[in-house]
Symmetry: C2
DNA sequence: CTTGGGATTGCAAACAGACCACATATGGCA
DNA sequence: TGCCATATGTGGTCTGTTTGCAATCCCAAG
């Protein structure tokens, strides 16, 4: 059903922890990262493919609608620019390039992500504390071999 | 405006990374943890206070309405039980106790949180990779000294 | 003519978040 | 005595975001 990560069998988790599919606000930094990792401009469709390979989506493609929407919103806020390729052969494609601002934004996201991580980590350790068990080591989250 | 964590000045982050206030799905495990950490049953009002001290909310109280609603939903799904205290003096209070199922659920959440963490960590390292900078060490997230 | 890459819009269900109003109870202050 | 702040619990509404689905369009290859 959802895909962030699945340390246990599907069934066991479904019982209880209702995780969101996408950690719900991480699509944007994922797209930023995909773009930053690429030498050339990419068009939306390719971004969807690449994003699918990211840890966030763990192999299953995110809904293209959402990606296009995010991309548009990113353009209006200046994180990316786009231009149309209208090759003689093939459909028109819109290619997106990261702006300097976009790169800056991603740099900031690195800190934000660290905060997310530490908040979650603190909650996690508080939880195992409260249960009186020792903090289990981070399980190796499989289900997706990440190559962004 | 929001409070998860603020490594930089407010302004700088607001520009770009739109973090949600609550990482949006972590209220439930927070409540579970608060309850698990307490020897006696707690009533809603106290849970709100204690949750406010958790890393998630970083000092600012979550909306009480939401907490009560979550609590109710948790009861119908068997994670907590409640009973009314109607002391001679003082208003009636509803006290919540974690069930075995609730404790089990929290245990599962510990794994889920680990996954969140590792997904975010991977994204973070992919991002700094893509930017060609080295992974900055986790900044110390202040703004709240956590004592759940 | 169907399939598939590529982009976009609209809609609707779902949910989160912030309020507000209400119902009690206690204790303190003027 | 009357008013108010602080506890406590609950219901309702309003607004906004998420998000997935369906439908549309273009073009090319088979």
């Amino acid at each position: 059903m959802w895909s962030v990560c699945n340390p246990k069998a599907d069934g066991e988790l479904k019982e209880c922890a209702q995780l969101g599919r996408t950690l719900s606000r991480l699509t944007l930094p994922t797209i930023l990262t995909v773009l930053a990792a690429s030498a050339e401009p990419l068009h939306g469709y390719v971004i969807v493919q690449k994003a699918a390979a990211s840890p966030l989506f763990g192999g299953s493609k995110p809904d293209a609608t959402g990606v296009y929407r995010t991309l548009k919103q990113m353009e209006t806020s200046g994180l990316v620019t786009s231009h149309w390729n209208t090759p003689k052969a093939g459909p028109a494609k819109r290619s997106f390039t990261l702006t300097t601002e976009g790169r800056e934004c991603l740099r900031r996201w690195i800190d934000s992500l660290a905060c997310y991580c530490s908040v979650i980590g603190e909650l996690r350790s508080a939880a195992s504390d409260a249960l009186g068990i020792e903090l289990p080591p981070l399980p190796h989250c499989d289900g997706h071999e990440h190559t962004l």
